[in-house]
Amino acid sequence: MLLRLMAVLIFVGLLCGPSGCAGMANPYIGEETLIVLHYYISQDPKGFDPVRSSDTLSSTLIGQIYEPLYQYAYLERPYKIEPCLAESMPEISPDKLTYTFKIKKGVYFQDDPCFSQNGGRGRELTADDFVYSFKRLADVKNSPEGYWIFQGYIVGMDEFHEASLSETPTDYSKTIEGLKALDRYTLQIKLTKPYPRLLWVLTMPYTAAVPREAVEYYKEEFLNHPVGTGPFRLARWDHWHKIVLEKNPTYRDDFYPTKGEDSDLERGLLADAGKKLPLADRVVLTVIKQEQPAWLYFLSGYLDISGIPKDSWNTAMSSLTQLSPQMEEKKVRLWRGRDFGVYYVAFNMNDPLIGMKHPDVCKREIIEKRKLADEAEKLGKSEEAQRLRFEADSLEKELPFLEEKNLKRKKIRQAMSLAYNRLERIKIFANGRAEPAQGPIPPEFNGYDPNFRNPYSEFNLEKARQLLAEAGYPDGVGSDGKRLELNFETTGASTTTQQNADFFRQEMKKLGITININQNTWTEFQEKLRTNRAQIYGLGWIADYPDPENFLQLFYGPNKSPNPNNANYENPEYDRLYEEMAVLSDFDPEESRRKHEICRQMEKIVTEDCPWIFGLTYWSYTLVQSWHKNFKPHAFAYNTYKYHSVDPALRRKLSIEWNKPTMFLAYVILAIVLTIAGLFFYKLKKQSE
């Protein structure tokens, strides 16, 4: 009986399986008539708290719900800022220290239970919301990731930041002198020194307006319950699975831009000009961690936008700029744009073998150490004073030989930079989607010179060997007969990281230098950076805003580790130029020109000193389905979903066309399984008889 029942069940199951397969591959339940954008994200965002939006994913999602004072003009290039929640561009005092912002009237936060006094209806945005939100960014208890944008710039803000370390809870009623709401719709910021990047940073999600009611109502869960003024609101968030954003019904009057680049009209990007935003009713973001399923979904038409995974390059592209016939047939569109980032291999400049100590820095250190020793002496700490004096004396002894040593070590770094075959690396790891970086400033930034060629960015083994010999290591062997041996720290355990490290080792082997690869987790690596134990390592830096200062600060002496200057590079001349450049604005033509000149000098200094092997800058490739409208890549803007739209009818039609199941294989498998099962039951029956 049991056997017969099982046989019937298996038979019915197998018969129903393939016949029920039609439309089975469609991951969406139910038919869609609304305008729904289907995107994917490769991981769950860490939350919707603007002060913790240091990663691109969090910024992108927060950017759809919360809004800052300013935003980037979506279509215009070069990158331009326009008001978002601000009514207009700010009034700036002649000394450039006071900024006055007018805020749009009649902007409401989305409806939410946190506004219990209004019966759950969202209240109007005021200047006080910005004062509160900026204070939140300075409050260490919120683990803010973006306080660096205001640190040292707004009068009284650092004191508030310091106080929040010890106060429990942080006193938000305390006034910050440089941050005031003059009236309901006027915000004033007073600066300690000119800060030409202020408007750039006021577009970042860190500075978005957050209602105090929501923070106090949701407490620790605030980051899971965003309440913003933006075009979308969070409708559903199943962690590590799906995020659904819905059109915010109380969104202010905001319209699709009417101005763009010349080519935008041709590309159909101005077809929706003047329409009320957001254009889409809903955005569905599915978490797909692995590249393959995401790519297959894009090919099946279930995702609107995709990048090109490294292993699927040949399926998508015929050449660096030409789509494959398969993509052409599907009428997929390609957008190729720059990733404003630089990927590099850094040398620790504190390292005695390959580092650099500028004589002026050395002299300064000697004086400082002697001063500290005197102070220690006065306090009765004679041992410490003795140690400091000993260190100062050693530095003094080293001083006459410093120039010579620095020169030799610089030659080692330059030789390694010359031996690093960037083009080969681009071919192997990026399918050609990158180009060698000539210096820290990426193309299109103020200060970039397209004609500048870093003399150490080319691949020239002969010159590299010659420089290494001049540095005292002919064929990589020193005067003591020992081979030059250096340590490369990995930043994680992923295959790509490992492959990159191996590539570096192979390249340096050609010079006769032995590279030992030290495996680290990301946290171990960070710890090594902090404690000055990393000799050589590979990293990248992505631009936060389109200002060269964002890259040049990575070599500024006072920014040494644990701050972002992880190579611990220090050159007084560079630092002087940096200080001069950092106060110049890109918005003022005269200052912008002067800034360009200084940036050129700085880039020359830093490429000659070679604290980094300037590696690559990448091109980003985005594929867009034919039914998707208004996509234009933007390197810095996050709030772009409001401009996107789709043609749902076309998507439905094509997705049915592309996803007809092939039943042949199913029937073959069915026949095989049925035969085996039949044989089994027949034998069993015969046996039992």
């Binding site: 049991l2 056997l3 099982m6 393939p18 397969c21 089975m24 591959a25 991951p27 339940i29 991981q43 769950d44 860490k46 939350g47 240091s54 260490v140 208890k141 683990s143 990731e145 973006g146 660096w148 640190q151 370390l165 620790e220 869960e221 980051l223 899971n224 199943d238 962690h239 699975h241 599915t286 978490v287 797909i288 961690k289 692995q290 393959q292 399923p293 297959l296 979904y297 090919l299 099946s300 990301w522 946290t523 171990e524 960070q526 710890e527 902090r530 830096w541 644990p562 701050n563 972002p564 007809k660 199941p661 092939t662 294989l665 199913a666 089994f680 034998k683 069993l684 046996q687 039992s688």
Partner: protein, 312 residues
């Protein structure tokens, strides 16, 4: 029997404490709070911010104090909140268990039934061409890496032939179509090893004297197979099943990761990636409890199926 169960439950205590101690040491000694802080705070982190982070998250307390706080929280099932998402960990685990169970229970059940059936069949026809070809197929099946099944399954059955969604999950009845493909992959990937194991176990029994006696008595083959052989082969079968039980709750890391199933397996991977110490701690604790409980269940089942095992 109850005394036996209580005694076994008491054995559970040192095991669980040991697991907690090791996990705690891994996260507080091998990697430090400072390193975690630096990762959280991103590329602009300053020394003061790191210090503040350590203070806020209690990393500034002495190691021993932190250890006792950890132990107290675990033993009272107070897992706290995720360090990354700030959600309550109990809610996260509760939400993740459903998807894991909905994938693993049917997959495991069908794999078990089918592999036992095939094993019986091959054992019955041992040394014939049927048995030999089944064994060869099993070995081939075992030699293919799990990841290859996943990737090929997605590509061929999902994308090329369009039978199943390539990945995804949905709550409610709609979940069915998302679970077939990963379930099938689980079945195919496990079949080789399972059939070989059960076949060996059954073959050990099939040559026993009592089987020959039963045959000599002229008993029906089905009764010999299901009533006598299977019953006597239960001890190793239970051992194998019991070892698998915790994974039904904890999910399959690779399957959930590739098929986008938001279960506990995927959650564990994500927590490890994001250094979410609180979540890893909770999952390790629950995993070890489940493991010990499953072993306890195994011990009880041994005694139930085999009267020679006594509740000592």
């Amino acid at each position: 029997m109850s005394a036996y169960i209580i005694r076994r439950l008491l054995y559970l205590v040192p095991t669980v404490l040991g697991v907690c101690l090791i996990t705690f040491l891994l996260f507080n000694v091998v990697t430090t709070g400072e390193a975690i802080a630096k990762q959280r705070l991103g590329q602009h982190a300053t020394a003061e911010q790191i210090e503040a982070y350590l203070k806020v998250h209690g990393y500034d307390k002495p190691l021993l104090v932190r250890f006792f706080i950890t132990m107290k929280d675990l033993l009272t099932f107070n897992f706290g909140r995720s360090e990354v998402t700030h959600q309550k960990i109990t809610t996260m685990i509760f939400n993740g268990m459903g998807p894991s169970l909905s994938l693993m229970v049917p997959a495991f059940f069908f794999t078990f039934i089918i592999s036992i059936t095939i094993a019986l069949f091959t054992a019955l026809y041992r040394n014939t061409w049927l048995d030999r070809s089944a064994v060869v197929l099993c070995i081939i099946g075992m030699s293919v890496p799990f990841l290859a099944y996943i990737i090929l399954g997605q590509y061929i059955l999902g994308y090329r032939f369009k039978y199943f969604p390539v990945s995804g999950y949905e709550w409610g009845l709609g979940v069915f179509k998302f679970l077939i493909l990963p379930g099938l992959i689980y079945l195919v990937a496990s079949l080789g090893a399972d059939v070989r194991f059960y076949r060996t176990v059954i073959l050990d029994e099939i040559n026993q004297d009592y089987v020959r006696t039963a045959r000599a008595k002229g008993l029906n083959q089905n009764i010999i197979l299901f009533k006598h052989i299977l019953k006597n082969a239960m001890i190793p079968i239970i051992t194998r099943v019991v070892v698998t039980l915790p994974f039904l709750f904890m999910g399959s890391l690779l399957l959930e990761d590739f098929y986008g199933i938001p279960g506990l397996g995927a959650m564990a991977l994500n927590a490890i990636d994001g250094n979410d110490f609180a979540v890893i701690k909770a999952l390790t604790f629950i995993g070890s409890i489940l493991y010990v409980l499953a072993n306890l269940l195994g011990d009880i089942l041994y005694a139930l199926v085999d009267p020679r095992v006594e509740f000592k």
